[in-house]
């Protein structure tokens, strides 16, 4: 019986048809593998049909169009730490920044190779930057959060456990400006209900893929002022 399944599989393969499924056993495996390897050597077989390529292109365009107009998913998802997805999602920052017009020429988003974890290790270091004051030290008490808009970049600076941290104020999904919920110490995206911690970590989202954590700015405190390293202001 099983031998018949394998034989039919091979016959289908030889006719260029989709082989029918059956429960294969150990003795079938080698034969089927050899048959496939031999079949893969047919001349000209390695190129997809033009109609197939065109048709799949259309299906993909349809799928993406449907998703973009899709209504939000029912409930916020918790953040899942899927390394692979995070890795790919990380590059959405470049798009978000460009869409928001928030980054001037020569600005490069630095990025370590696959180690971007939940903490938002990416630091935005402009090629041409300067230390720019975003708050008086006195106005940023322990536990406080301040928004800032430097013309070229927007962000939030927070003092937590004595340490300062500044993050971008632009959602890494599609570039909407984040709003501070001071009580919750949370940054909310007005567009798709994504939320980030003031430290830049993703807290919740309703998108197919988790957006990347917010990029950090370098931040320092000098002469009673809190400063971030940012591109110079527009003239």
């Amino acid at each position: 019986m099983r031998a018949r399944g394998a034989r039919r599989f091979v016959a289908d393969l030889l006719r260029g048809r989709r082989p029918r499924s059956f429960r294969a056993d150990d003795t079938d495996v080698g034969q089927l593998r050899a048959a496939i390897t031999l079949r893969a050597a047919q001349p000209g077989s390695a190129t997809p049909r033009e109609e197939f390529v065109t048709d799949l292109h259309r299906r993909l365009a349809d799928q993406l169009a449907t998703e973009q107009t899709a209504t939000p998913l029912p409930a916020p998802r918790p953040v899942v730490d899927s390394t692979r997805r995070r890795l790919v999602a990380a590059s959405s920052i470049a798009v978000a920044a460009a869409a928001a017009g928030a980054v001037v020429d020569h600005t490069v988003i630095s990025r370590g190779p696959a180690q971007s974890g939940a903490g938002g290790e990416q630091t935005l270091i402009p090629s041409t930057g300067q230390w720019r004051t975003v708050s008086a030290s006195a106005d940023l008490a322990e536990g406080g959060v301040q928004g800032f808009d430097l013309g070229t970049v927007v962000g939030f600076v927070a003092r937590t456990g004595g340490a300062l941290r500044a993050v971008s104020g632009v959602c890494t999904h599609l570039g909407c400006r984040l709003a501070l919920d001071a009580a919750a110490r949370r940054l909310d995206c007005p567009c798709h209900r994504t939320s980030f911690a003031v430290s830049g970590e993703l807290l919740r989202y309703q998108l197919p893929v988790p957006p990347a954590a917010l990029p950090q700015f370098e931040v320092r405190e000098m002469h009673g002022e809190v400063q971030v390293y940012a591109p110079p202001g527009p003239v």
Binding site: G30, A41, Q63, L64, S91, V108
Partner: protein
Amino acid sequence: MGGGADERGADGPQLRVVDGEFYPDWEAVYRDNVDRVYRLMFAKVGNRPDAEDLTAEVFLAALRPLRVSASVGEVRAYLSATARTVLAGYWRRTLGREITVLTDDEGLESMPSETAAASDATARAALILAGLPENYQRILQLRFVESCSVREAAAALGISVAYAKVLQHRALRRAAQLEVDG
């Protein structure tokens, strides 16, 4: 934030992610990789309908996360990983065991050009054929590689159709045996 359009202009390089080239949009991802994914799949399933379905499955599953731009290396690694999963799922669904696998070395990243890929496939087939007696070699070459009908193969070998079928069956069994032996 005003004047964004003016700022992104004339002088200076384009905004880029530092680790290598990247794709401007999903269509570029698709155009640049559809042939590769298809080729990868065809080598592992040996028939067009399945290779097309599996290629479609890879892109339908992978392109959503890839809607935004990503570097070429990242995109290919991601497509390869998706292809591995899709192929494994296909075998589980159809035969209940994995007949062929995409190893870590067989990704889109390391994929040779079209002509090199074709000669790879030819070389793998030749390796199988080389271990077989001549009449086995010939029947498999005619039937599998050259896509002759049983009748045509039988005529070419000067044997009956019935015997050609038997010969093909034995040849394939021996080919499978070779693989087991090493």
